[in-house]
């Protein structure tokens, strides 16, 4: 019979829990070199041996069981609830060999919960370079547990970890710290009141909200004087507990853990000297961003053209092979152009994720946090808001969740609210196509205008985020004091596999998610565009042919006239026409209006929508870009010119056109209030920004 046990991975941030999780389960959860990559619990399964299977749980990193931010409280909530389905049979505390002392603090706390606890010392590949030696056997005896030395990078020790886990029942559950040494009277009376409970557990339940209070979470000023007073009392005990634990740990490590400083090579200080230099640090950050945007343009133009023309050929080929009919039209005029509108952006999106994940893997992100904290504080943000803001350039959804490790509720809320202004990858398709249409493809000092425009749009997103943050900072009253403690991790060479996984998973998710929406919307659009009410639609051909104005035009032109007349009187045309008065002042026609409507579900649908609309009833097979540049206004000038192009870019820069982001904001703020405010305010800003810029530029 196969037995299943629950294994929970716990540890300080950035010690490699997720790497161990991936090694055990074979899954590909995101790994990165800054504290706070994992913010939710994640589950997987693993076969330990022939008779034992394990459900493995990966948790957010935490420095101790005294939680002070939302991601940390996930861990405590689980460990205090014996009835939780995920409650561990055995806990695995993952530690970083270099920071063993600090990591052991959490270990002793977990052990005091009287759960069988295995100590995993990870990153053992670093020991030689850092001159570290450990007497594992002695340490095992002192800590009264099983220890496994592993390296997920070098794939060492995973098997022996599995073997140890199978034998979890033999691990001692005796606690390490006697709470009576913290304060005898207090804990004695506690014991008298609840004689059958683990003292440390009781203590955790009592103090659970001392650092990360309910008060702060929901902002209910319910606490009477008594509670606050006793809180500072409890806090004193927590500190005394920490000091006691360190005393024990120091004593143990003195005998078992040695560092030979001479063997250590110091990459950290050499890199930090320039990367967080008061002047050069900022210059380098700017140059890094600039190069990323240049690269996105320069490296992806060839694969993009290739994809674009492939889709055209595909459409043509299918048109020839498939029997003519409604279904063929749906495929060649609706689905394929729509999908092409998303697939074409794969190269750029992959490059974007590639660069972001390199920045994450090297440890550079925390340096940016350091550089930016002072500047952002003024606007009610926090240095840690940089990570949501930068990862928001990939997608706002994980970025909103990444705000969980900001301790102050107010700074966290502001971060969540402004993150959707950063240029996410779904905006990229819209920008790219518009830029290539309206910005000249020329260079100045080797820097292309198109790349500069793209970077300008990214900065605009950040700027808007900061401006609105500072507004909100004024509006929201301050209730809690914020503090800021950030670990600066070691620099690491990015592991190509981790980067590859991130790029692959994220790009795939983007294509699949967007693909589903596109598929649905392009079918809907096609149906609505090829059907219409009344005689205007059904008799389009006769109506145009008998129109005296068109008497002398060539048959080809006549075809086009018929097609566009029909489109105008289809259902979609009527819909677009009905909103035209509202968007004409922004420089958009009714076809763009349709794309605007459809992209309220998701921005990236814009290009696909236009591609579908322009394809319907149009036999000529052209690339998306050519189709768009061929569109003209009634006066004969191109529809997409500088004024309307910029106006559209601004609209997309500011509007909240993403259902998924609204949903996640609702989840993270516990209600509809903030997402609705976000939706209304952003749409309002977008409309007026686009209006003003078009009226000035036209």
């Amino acid at each position: 019979m196969i037995k299943t046990i629950n294994i929970t991975l716990i540890g300080n941030p950035n010690t490699g829990k997720t790497s161990v999780f991936n090694a055990l389960t074979g899954l590909n959860q995101k790994v990165g070199n800054y504290p706070g990559i994992t913010v939710e619990k994640k589950q997987g399964t693993c076969k330990l041996n022939r008779t034992t299977k394990a459900r493995v749980l990966d948790l957010p990193g935490t420095y101790s069981l005294n939680a002070s931010s939302m991601d940390e409280s996930v861990v405590i909530e689980l460990l205090l609830n014996k009835n939780d389905l995920d409650f561990p049979d055995v806990a695995v505390v993952v530690t970083d060999v270099e920071n063993l002392k600090r990591n052991l603090l959490l270990f002793t706390q977990i052990k005091d919960l009287e759960i069988p606890t295995v100590l995993v010392i990870n990153m053992s590949d670093q020991m030689k370079r850092k001159g570290i030696s450990i007497d594992v056997e002695l340490l095992e005896k002192q800590l009264n547990t099983s220890i496994v030395l592993i390296s997920t990078r070098k794939k060492r020790g995973i098997e022996s970890l599995k073997e140890t886990l199978v034998k979890y029942r033999s691990i001692s559950t005796s606690p390490i710290l006697d709470p009576l040494t913290i304060d005898e009277t207090y804990f004695k009376s506690l014991k008298r009141a609840f004689p059958n409970q683990s003292l440390y557990k009781l203590w955790l339940v009592i103090t659970q909200d001392v650092n990360f209070t309910k008060l702060e979470r929901q902002k209910v000023p319910d606490s009477a004087e008594f509670k606050t007073q006793s809180q500072s009392y409890l806090k004193k005990f927590q500190q005394r507990e920490t000091i006691k634990r360190y005393q024990i740990i120091n004593k143990i490590l003195k005998e078992t853990y040695h560092v030979n400083k001479e063997n250590a090579t110091d990459l950290r200080s050499r890199l930090d000297n320039i990367l967080i230099h008061k002047f050069w640090g900022y210059v380098i950050f700017f140059v890094i961003l600039l190069s990323i945007f240049q690269a996105i343009f320069d490296w992806s133009s060839i694969p993009m053209d290739l994809i674009d023309s492939t889709f055209v050929k595909l459409s043509e080929a299918l048109n020839d092979y498939l029997p003519p009919g409604v279904l063929t039209n749906l495929i060649t005029e609706g689905v394929i152009p729509g999908l092409g509108g998303i697939v074409i952006f794969i190269p750029q999106i992959a490059f974007l994720f590639f660069f972001i994940s390199i920045l994450e893997e090297t440890g550079y992100m925390s340096r940016v946090v350091f550089l930016m904290d002072r500047g952002l504080r003024r606007y009610g943000l926090n240095g840690k808001s940089v990570i949501p803001l930068i990862s928001g350039t990939a997608c706002a959804i994980p970025a909103v969740m990444a705000a969980r490790n900001i301790e102050s509720w107010k700074e966290r809320l502001i971060t969540i609210l402004v993150v959707p202004f950063t240029t996410c990858s779904a905006r990229l398709p819209v920008y790219l196509i518009l830029i290539s249409l309206v910005i000249p493809n020329q260079r100045f000092l080797g820097i292309s205008y198109q790349g500069l425009t793209l970077m300008g749009l990214y900065f605009l997103g950040f700027l808007m985020a900061i401006v609105s943050a500072s507004l909100m900072n004024k509006i929201l009253e301050t209730s809690t004091k914020s503090y800021f403690v950030v670990e600066m991790p070691n620099y690491k060479l990015p592991l190509l596999k981790n980067v590859g996984i991130t790029v692959w998973e994220k790009t795939r998710a983007f294509v699949v998610e967007a693909g589903k929406i596109i598929l649905a919307i392009s079918i809907l659009l096609w149906v609505m565009a090829s059907h219409g009410p009344g005689v205007n639609f059904s008799n389009a051909e006769d109506l145009v042919k008998t129109n005296a104005e068109y008497k002398n035009i060539s048959p080809d032109e006549l075809e086009t006239k018929i097609a566009s007349y029909r489109l105008e009187h289809s259902y979609i045309g009527i819909l677009g026409k009905s909103i035209e008065p509202a968007i004409a002042p922004l420089g958009y026609d009714w076809k763009i209006g349709i794309a605007l409507i459809s992209s309220f579900a998701a921005r990236e649908v814009f290009v696909g929508t236009l591609a579908t609309i322009y394809s319907v009833g149009n036999d000529s097979q052209e690339t998306i870009k050519n189709k768009m540049s061929a569109e003209i206004r009634p006066d004969g000038s191109p529809l997409f010119n500088l004024a309307s192009g910029i106006s559209l870019m601004l609209f997309y820069a500011f509007a909240m056109q993403c259902m998924s982001t609204l949903a996640i904001v609702k989840k993270e703020t516990n209600g509809w209030k903030w997402p609705l405010i976000q939706l209304v305010a952003m749409t309002f800003i977008a409309y007026f920004a686009a209006l003003i810029v078009y009226q000035i530029l036209k």
Binding site: D272, L371, D373, R377, Y483, V485, M488
Partner: protein, 75 residues
């Protein structure tokens, strides 16, 4: 004895005492305890935040928090 925010760049000191009512527990858990060594490695513009090495941990804190840590410079 001075408060940590006054420590010179590149200098090392021993933590003498901490004002436990104001210091976040997290900092104490990361090793900011009396008796441990602290060095000021880097400063952002306007001396804020400060990049410290406390015991074995490398971390950044804001000046307003550093005020609550009293240290005795040793170099």
């Amino acid at each position: 004895m001075i408060s940590l925010d006054k420590l010179g760049l590149g200098k090392t000191a021993i933590i003498e005492s901490i004002e436990t009512d104001f210091l976040p527990l997290k900092l104490i858990e990361m090793g900011c305890l009396p008796g441990n060594e602290v060095s000021l490695l880097y400063l952002a513009p306007f001396r804020d935040p400060m990049y410290l090495k406390i015991d074995e941990a490398h971390l950044a804190i804001r000046t307003e928090v550093a005020k609550y840590i009293m240290v005795k410079p040793i170099s």
